[in-house]
Symmetry: C2
Subunit: 117 residues, 2 copies
């Protein structure tokens, strides 16, 4: 495995702003703006609300994907961004997207992991 | 972070069967069958072919998501499955889906990581 396409950043994020975990519309708009600002390109997305509360959102990028799953009942979300380096090194953007997401959700604490792959 | 929703399995997989990395239709059908067999539920998906070859496929599940990105020019794909344990423990299914994927792509070698989250 000599070719390593990119960097995957995973995080588990706690927040008291549980309204942001219940409705995906503000996050969808926020990511659309951020993706444009970073010069990334979306090629499709799925946002799905759950009856019991919370939602799943996945945005496919030419550079790979971004995924959020929320659990309002636990004040918790999980975040993934995986950006390949096909045209340019995107590691910095992956870390910035984590920072953006922590800020958007007004994170009170989080854990994160990086997987070089 | 006391609540840990589930298990995320990541893998980088090499194969000589590069035709399987170029066309997403067989994989899409394979996963639809496997998702049904495991009693998982898809809530949306994006499959996107790239002009230069390869594709991205993401399937959103009520239990979280499954994602594949391929690079035929390197005989390589990356695989992610993240299954939450909201209704029942799905760790075994996440590992089985990796095994299924290795088999489908006739993997010659692979690396994998597990993130409990």
């Amino acid at each position: 495995m000599n070719y390593t396409p990119g960097l995957h950043v995973l995080a588990e994020i706690s927040t008291d702003a549980t309204h942001l975990l219940a409705d995906y519309a503000p996050l969808r708009q926020f990511y659309a703006e951020r993706i444009g600002a970073y010069g990334l390109q979306a090629v499709g997305e799925v946002f799905h609300p759950f009856e019991g509360g919370g939602f799943t959102g996945v945005i496919c990028l030419t550079e790979s994907h971004l995924a959020v799953h929320t659990w309002p009942e636990f004040g918790l979300l999980t975040f993934d961004v995986y950006l390949s380096n096909f045209r340019r090194v995107n590691d910095g953007k992956a870390r910035h997207l984590l920072e953006d997401t922590l800020s958007f959700f007004k994170a009170t604490r989080y854990t994160s992991h990086e997987v070089r792959r």
